[in-house]
Symmetry: C2
Subunit: 106 residues, 2 copies
DNA sequence: TATATAGAATACCAAAAGGTATTATATAGA
DNA sequence: TCTATATAATACCTTTTGGTATTCTATATA
């Protein structure tokens, strides 16, 4: 329950969401990602940094290029955090079920 | 694929995450939530507004009180968005499996 | 070696976000 | 009705964020 704030924050921006969708299609260098946006390389680079901080992408050096790919870790962290609340919905459903059963008895 | 940015943004803050955990324990008025933080009521109210915008909580009026409770909608939206990427991991696993199979043949 | 290309790093700016203080409104209760 | 309480609304301030421009470093390649 700590650094997942960084991960959720990374997803709280439309540009970064689009970058992830792009990378789901294929791994890319920053240059390739930039071609899909009307934004400077430096701007895109900042977004990539935040995605990396949130463990949503990982970078691998290859000569003078840097290959960016999706990183499952961030996604799993989020899923786990959200799953914590499943307990809540289950309780609600249980309570509803009990209520219905009680009424049926009458 | 639109307003979920608001939802993820809402979760990208530690105070708001804590509020959700509190509400998972029990429904609360803003006043009750404030008691758990070293922050003004106005500050907490702003956070609640963002959580509501992201459909993570819903508010029900009761006299002069407002009862806040978790809203499953926001959680489901996020789960669905994240689930979009499952395809990616599956592909990766498939590719890995093919590779292994190829090697076994030799 | 000289030069072009892929990327990193820094400084800077405007807008948005996190927070407080203050004022206003509606309802509960003496 | 008068007063206290639960909340809403607005103005304001400081920090962070999204973005550009500019400079610097490293690696391909003519």
């Amino acid at each position: 329950m700590q650094t997942n704030v960084t991960t959720f924050k990374a997803l709280g921006d439309p540009t970064r969401q689009k970058i992830l969708v792009l990378l789901a299609g294929q791994d890319m260098t920053i240059g390739e990602v930039v071609d899909h946006f009307d934004m400077t390389r430096a701007g895109v680079k900042k977004h990539m940094k935040l995605l990396e901080d949130g463990h949503l992408i990982s970078v691998k050096a290859d000569g003078r290029e840097r290959i960016n790919s999706l990183n499952r870790a961030g996604f799993q962290t989020m899923m786990q955090w959200i799953a914590y609340f499943d307990r809540f919905w289950d309780d609600k459903l249980d309570a509803l079920a009990s209520l219905v059963n009680e009424e049926e008895k009458e």
